[in-house]
């Protein structure tokens, strides 16, 4: 009954072409509809709030009061952005988010640089220069990552007060650097431990010391992990609210704290457009970091070191 078989094949394929080459794919298959349908629904769900924010921040207050939150602005105005940046009042200061922005930058740059520098050396030492008790030291550091921040707030207040850094930006930098240590050390230790140990041995035979191996052999081939650490730290520190609000004073408030003060102010009318613009401004830095550093995620940086 070979005829039935070939008849069936012809009926399914719609013609009598013999199978050859890549199997034809149906574009509108059930799987594809489900897959793309789900993706579209989820993207709309996440992008809609962003759309509302951007649209609202570009409208004037009269237009907002009409209530069509999804409608595009009839008249585009950048006034809310200007106000959010330079004029909005937070507490006694009326110079907008700009003050908080520069405070945050002053907190961010030293915290990120210091924490990555120290943690990478930590990770390198723990991975390549095992000393007596290094595993114990590492375990203690990791446990640090699991202790809730809240339990440490008050002790840190006392410590900062005693060393005279309470309310100072340097104090907050110190706190961020210390709290970044466990996770970053883990990140760098695992990265360095995964590098071929022969490379480390070869560098030792070549007479490179602790710092020589670190700076001239390992760091140049570890750019991706530094980028990952930077992204982690920049987003973490920029978005931090808890430490920012506790360990600073109004003049040194970071941007997030200022944003909160603008958005949650109970005096006067709610300026939704200014709030939206302020929020978008605050979120801009992590966003830019993501977009810029995406390109730096180069794979195969270590290509050619070992058998390849």
């Amino acid at each position: 009954m070979a005829d039935v078989g070939s008849l069936n094949t012809a009926a399914v394929a719609g013609n009598t072409v013999e199978a050859r080459g890549p199997k034809p794919k149906k574009r509108l298959s059930r799987n594809n509809i489900i897959l793309y349908g789900t993706l579209i629904v989820v993207s709309v769900y996440y992008l809609l709030p962003l759309y509302v924010m951007i649209v609202t921040s570009l409208k004037g207050m009269p237009e907002i009061r009409v209530g069509n939150i999804f409608a595009p602005p009839l008249e585009i105005t950048f006034e809310p952005w200007v106000k959010a940046w330079a004029e909005a009042c937070t507490g006694i200061n009326c110079d907008g988010l700009s003050r908080g922005f520069w405070n945050s930058v002053q907190i961010l740059i030293p915290s990120v640089a210091l924490s990555i520098l120290i943690a990478s050396v930590n990770g390198y030492a723990l991975a390549n220069w095992k000393f007596k008790g290094s595993e114990l030291f590492f375990t203690i550091l990791i446990i640090g990552a699991f202790i809730p921040y809240q339990t440490m707030i008050y002790p840190i207040v006392i410590i900062l007060r005693e060393i005279g850094l309470m309310g100072d930006l340097a104090g907050l930098v110190l706190v961020h650097t210390v709290f970044g240590m466990p996770i970053l050390t883990l990140l760098f230790r695992n990265h360095f431990a995964a590098l071929p140990v022969d490379l480390f041995k070869a560098a030792r035979v070549d007479g490179a010391g602790f710092w020589g191996i670190y700076f001239r052999v390992l760091v140049p081939m570890s750019l991706p992990i530094f980028v990952v650490a930077m992204i982690l730290q920049v987003t973490g520190i920029w978005n931090d609210f808890l430490f920012g609000v506790i360990y600073t004073k109004p003049e040194t408030y970071p941007m997030t704290v200022q944003l909160n003060n603008i958005v949650n102010s109970v005096q006067g009318i709610k300026e939704y457009n200014v709030n939206m613009a302020a929020t978008l401004l605050t979120g801009l830095v992590p966003l830019v970091i993501y977009f810029v550093s995406g390109k730096l995620f180069v794979r195969g940086i270590a290509a050619g070191a070992v058998k390849g």
């Binding site: 022969d198 490379l199 041995k201 070869a202 030792r204 035979v205 140049p220 081939m221 070191a305």
Partner: protein, 362 residues
């Protein structure tokens, strides 16, 4: 500087990882300009020993001398060694030139001297056109050449190789093996070479140290190791296909295996000769003769062929002798089929006799 006839001396070396004793009371002396191969299966401690000599592993006890100088507490870079790794371990972000000169720059060698040495190494290894490239743009063979060059520029007396050819494909491995041998003849440095490949060991070595479980089972020239293995382990490990072992009873200068008697006339006894009792005779597959040579052999027998492996240059025949399997290496042109009744000849004076209990050569 008292005893400079040895290039590398290892005295009573112990290395423990916690409870695991990797090396125990190991002694080995390596002559000036010698090519010594450390051979063994994985986990035998051969790479560990090399790392100890290089100073990359902290030893538990013992001493290491290089050129008569006690270097036990010296850093790897201070020991006067160059090392080549299995994984090449080239610095990926540096050019070939950077890789070669890295060690010299660390040692603060003057610039023109660095350039001179890099040029010389590149000439010897024929990698001059590659100097400006990064390791990623090199083939496996080229990378390994650069890795050898990195040891070469250091102008040291002792080269350490940690399975340098294991990552290369078969053809390249053979080519580089010959190149290494030529390099040794040209430079006349002391070379210590770790491998699990017995062909590499046999072809390259002046002396081979066969290792097992952190101990040296036998140290000798390839000829000694191959023809006069000191114990069953070495006899079994060296040679491919491996030696035939026939267990039997030894008595009055002859060994009886099943109903076959092998008189040991002309055999050179060691370790005080043999006593009557159970013993094992080891016969290399190529020492079992066939064809017209059978008539000249002292012992004659017949085997039934049950498997034939033609390999081109020679043919490996599996047969049955006195109830035991026997591997016979025949000429590649020999035409043998399973089921054939094959007359063979054995010369016991070329065989090896081992004590069953101590596994030592008799």
């Amino acid at each position: 500087m008292t005893d400079s006839k040895y290039s590398v001396e290892v005295r009573d070396l112990d290395l423990h990882f916690g409870e695991v004793k990797v090396l125990q009371k190991l002694n080995i002396n390596i002559h000036q300009g010698e090519f010594l191969v450390l051979l063994g299966s994985s986990g035998c401690g051969k790479s560990t020993l090399l790392n100890c000599i290089a100073g990359l592993l902290e030893i538990t006890d013992g001493q290491i001398f290089i050129n008569g100088r006690n270097v036990t507490w010296h850093e790897p870079s201070e020991r006067g060694i160059g090392m080549v790794f299995q994984s090449y371990a080239l610095y990926p972000q540096m050019t070939v030139e950077g890789n070669l000169s890295f060690g010299l720059k660390n040692a603060r060698v003057p610039k023109d001297e660095v350039a001179k040495r890099v040029k010389r190494a590149a000439e010897i290894l024929q990698i001059e056109p590659l100097l400006k490239r990064k390791p990623g743009a090199l083939s496996g063979g080229q990378r390994q050449r650069v890795a050898i060059g990195r040891a070469l520029v250091r102008d040291v007396d002792v080269f350490l190789f940690d399975e340098p050819l294991s990552n290369l494909d078969a053809k390249l491995r053979t080519d580089l093996r010959v190149e290494l041998k030529r390099l040794h003849q040209q430079l006349k440095n002391t070379m210590i070479y770790v491998t699990h490949d017995q062909v590499e060991a046999m072809t390259l070595a002046d002396r081979i140290a066969v290792m097992k479980g952190g101990k040296i089972m036998q140290l000798g020239s390839p000829d000694e190791i191959y023809n006069r293995p000191q114990n069953l382990y070495v006899a079994d490990f060296i040679g491919s296909p491996s030696m035939n072992f026939l267990e039997g009873m030894y008595q009055d200068n002859a060994i009886r295996v099943g109903d076959l008697t092998l008189p040991m006339d002309g055999y050179e006894y060691v370790n005080g000769g043999a006593k009557a009792g159970p013993a094992t005779i080891g016969i290399r597959p190529e020492h079992v003769v066939t064809g017209e040579l059978v008539d000249r052999a002292p012992v004659h027998a017949r085997v039934t062929v049950d498997l034939v492996e033609p390999m081109g240059s020679d043919t490996l025949v599996y047969g049955d002798l006195a109830g035991k399997q026997l591997r016979i290496r025949m000429d590649g042109q020999a035409r043998v089929r399973p089921g054939d009744d094959l007359p063979i000849g054995i010369d016991p004076s070329r065989a090896s006799l081992f004590d069953n209990e101590s596994t030592a050569r008799l």
